[in-house]
């Protein structure tokens, strides 16, 4: 049945809005499970589903109304405190939300498919009866849901990926072995959920062909364009005047001014457009709480997910690419890394495992880390498995260090599982991670501490990243210091410097600050003019502080990081370059690199 909607615009508006509401809903629901008493959140969720219901009934999407209506009823009871938030209720609500997503994607696809709604609605109904609390226990359908629901949703992405990849490589994907013996997912081998749903479809509600841009950014852009139009008019006027016979000196003067303004406006414009390409990594991160929750319930594990730095901005293209690898890494951390609550208690750890997902800018890279406090990677086992599968030879193995052995897990076809499950074990996941990260020219680092947990660190270049920077002058040369690292700036007389053990320091309040003269580090020709006063820019890297001695502060500017290219990459102390308003190239200082070098490691960042 094709959708007939008179007002296409209305329909599109509905789809965009609903997609956003639903995406947020996932996140909120998971948050609610953790903080059931948060009435604000509860009300927000209620409002969202209510809005979806209202809009769909207005547009006449009957199926959608049916599901949302029941879901709303259950939420309403939760809101009024007639029901308590339990994982079982959440499972059903999440399932309902998934169904809503599916229906919305049907609408988006332009065809309404008759779908089986009764099953999900049937699960919602028990919670609406008066003795609902008992219903969770008594009704046979309700307890069955926890197993069935997440299976359909979470396990889905992997088979579909492996379906794409597995045939391509005759990998020994099927003959797999349990990773860490004791953790076969203790999942009820329930019959596959009836009417297997095309969940991928539901996931992809948000459309990447359209962009949502902050209104302020759009206004700024409009302003810039307005200015550009003004300057163009001015230019045409100037041309007319010139041909009309105005004198050349004034023309030259005017033209000089004009070209400066135009160059200014266009470079601003460039910056604005660049900024629009940047989106917070939150876009990817926000779907993880839900995934982690379902996986954890599936695997019978308890886990706290902590998400940090979701506001870090990334180029769209990068954001689009990192979703898949991150899902694999998270799945890996939960399945292979974290132990079951009982194992954890036995190992003297708290029952609940921790999973930390973080993103941050570091130099001209974005660093995304997935860290768990599980049992870490068993390198011996990894080595043994790799040899058994014939991925490496004994000689190769003998020459390998711990680090190289850890890297083996990225080999296609590698798996420590005896049997492939829905979750993992096909030996595809880590290869997907590696391929995707490679595509982005990124680096993967693994840190693993037996018994303490492991950390997967993705370092991705962000050639388009824009940072706030402090422009400083060092004896006539301009450098740019990332403002994020700058703690404060001081104007000091050189005689205030002291020397302790060959190291210049500055007594600042009650601490002693080591100083680094950028002029010396960067071998800048000292200018003839001797000056006694200079500026100290105090930068911080982790717990370290150091004062950079510069000649002058030039001001603050938002700059786009440009890579220096392959040949000049990894210069110690230089994070990249940027182009200033006047077209000159300025180098961006990498405080972390500077500090590393000052530690006498010599090899600079390469050594790290």
């Amino acid at each position: 049945m094709a959708i007939e909607c008179e007002d296409q615009e209305l329909l599109e508006g509905f789809l965009t809005e609903t997609a956003e509401l639903l995406e947020k809903l996932d996140d909120d629901l998971v948050a609610l499970e953790k903080a059931p008493s948060d009435t604000e959140l509860m009300n927000g969720i209620f409002r969202s589903i209510h809005t979806v219901k209202g809009a769909s009934s207005f547009l006449g999407f009957e199926l959608l109304v049916k599901v949302t209506h029941k879901t709303e009823d259950v939420l309403n009871r939760l809101r009024r405190g007639e029901l308590e938030v339990t994982p079982e209720i959440m499972d059903v609500i999440l399932e309902a939300v998934d169904l809503v997503k599916l229906l919305v994607s049907d609408i988006k696809g332009g065809d309404i498919v008759e779908r089986e709604l009764d099953e999900t609605i049937g699960k919602l109904l028990p919670f609406l009866s008066d003795n609902a609390k008992e219903a969770t226990v008594l009704k046979p359908t309700a307890p069955a849901t926890p197993a069935a629901a997440p299976e359909g949703q979470v396990a889905e992405p992997l088979p579909q990926e492996s379906a794409m990849q597995a045939p391509a490589e005759p990998s020994p994907a099927q003959e797999t072995a349990p990773v860490k013996a004791a953790t076969p997912p203790p999942r009820a081998q329930a019959a596959p959920p009836p009417a297997p749903r095309d969940d991928k479809k539901g996931d992809d509600l948000t459309d990447n062909s359209t962009v949502r841009v902050d209104v302020k950014r759009l206004d700024d852009l409009m302003n810039q364009v307005g200015e550009l139009v003004l300057e163009r008019n001015r230019m045409m006027q100037l041309n007319t005047d010139f041909h009309g016979g105005s004198d050349e000196t004034s023309f030259g003067e005017e033209f000089g001014k004009l070209s400066k303004r135009i160059s200014f406006v266009t470079s601003e414009l460039q910056m604005q457009v660049l900024k629009m390409r940047m989106i917070p990594v939150e876009k990817v991160f926000k779907k993880f709480p839900r995934i982690v929750r379902n996986l954890a319930r599936d695997l019978g594990k308890e886990v706290d997910l902590l998400v940090l730095g979701e506001e870090t901005e990334l180029d769209r293209s990068v954001v689009d690419e990192i979703g898949d690898p991150l899902i694999h890494l998270i799945r890996n951390a939960l399945d292979h890394g974290l132990e079951t609550p009982d194992e954890r208690v036995a190992a003297g750890k708290p029952r609940k495992g921790n999973l930390i997902l973080s993103a941050a800018h570091e130099g001209n890279q974005i660093v995304i880390s997935i860290k768990d406090d599980g049992k870490g990677v068993d390198t011996e086992k990894v080595a043994r498995k790799a040899r058994e599968k014939g991925l490496i030879t004994d000689e190769q193995l003998a020459a390998m260090g711990q680090r190289e052995i850890l890297d083996l897990i990225f080999l296609p076809g590698f798996s420590t599982k005896e049997k492939a499950t829905d979750l993992s074990g096909r030996g595809v996941g880590m290869d997907v991670v590696r391929t995707n990260i490679k595509k982005l020219n990124g680096i993967i680092d693994i840190r693993s501490e037996p018994g303490q947990g492991s950390e997967f660190i993705l370092k991705l270049p962000l050639t388009l990243a824009i940072i706030q920077s402090l422009l400083v002058e060092v004896e006539g040369e301009t450098y740019s210091v990332p403002l994020a690292a700058v703690l404060e700036t001081l104007r000091v007389e050189e005689q205030e410097f002291h020397t302790i053990g060959g190291q210049e320091v500055l007594k600042l309040r009650d601490s002693v600050l080591p100083l680094m003269r950028l002029q010396k580090i960067f071998n800048v020709q000292p200018s003839e003019r001797s000056r006694t006063a200079c500026y100290v820019v105090i930068v911080g890297v982790a717990e370290k502080r150091v004062g950079l001695v510069v000649s002058r502060l030039l001001g603050q500017q938002e700059v786009a990081i440009k890579s220096l290219g392959k040949y000049l990459a990894n210069l110690p102390g230089i994070a990249g370059s940027t182009i200033l308003g006047d077209g000159r190239v300025t180098l961006i200082i990498d405080p972390a690199g500077l500090l590393e070098n000052s530690d006498g490691s010599g090899g600079g960042r390469l050594a790290a």
Partner: protein, 164 residues
């Protein structure tokens, strides 16, 4: 007259290649025109600290930052004045752009491949043997055919980082 005729016959038998010829100190060199992206005048160069001495720095090439190498310094020739003839040849080095400062760019010449002779064992050029792909000996001039990709050897490309 006869030699000229002969050359023409040779040419027809051989593939023609085009070289961009440029001057350095008193000698003339040529690079394959297909490698040359563009030839620009000297813009303002930003020095990059802690790089090999022949790296002049980086420039802004229409929004792209590319490294600039001084040919004179690379071949240990005496420093030359930057004149109105000085040019930067922007070369495509396996996908990465790099600029090379030369004294002057003269012209694009077409020669038959057969005209390129293997470089003599002992060359009286400042250029290192490995970047020398051949010598073109024409009646009125001598051209050294350079393979610029060899100029920055693989190691050097990455070692820039290690040099302090």
């Amino acid at each position: 007259m006869e030699t000229a005729l002969q050359t023409r016959v040779e040419e027809s038998r051989n593939e023609l290649i085009q070289l961009v010829s440029f001057k350095l100190e008193h000698e003339e060199y040529g690079v394959n025109v297909l490698k040359v992206r563009e030839i620009i005048r000297m813009p303002s160069i930003t020095r990059v600290p802690n790089t090999p001495h022949y790296i002049e720095g980086v420039i802004n090439l229409r929004g792209k930052v590319i490294p600039i190498i001084s040919m004179r310094k690379r071949f240990n020739l005496p420093d030359g004045e930057i004149s109105s003839q000085t040019r930067i040849m922007v070369i495509d080095m396996e996908g990465e752009l790099m600029g090379f400062v030369v004294d002057a760019v003269s012209e694009v010449i077409r020669i038959a491949e057969s005209e390129i002779q293997p470089p003599p064992a002992v060359v009286n050029s400042a250029v290192e043997q490995e970047c020398l792909a051949g010598v073109i000996n024409q009646t009125d001039r001598l051209l050294f055919f350079l393979n610029l990709e060899k100029l920055i050897s693989r190691d050097e490309r990455h070692l820039f980082s290690g040099m302090m």
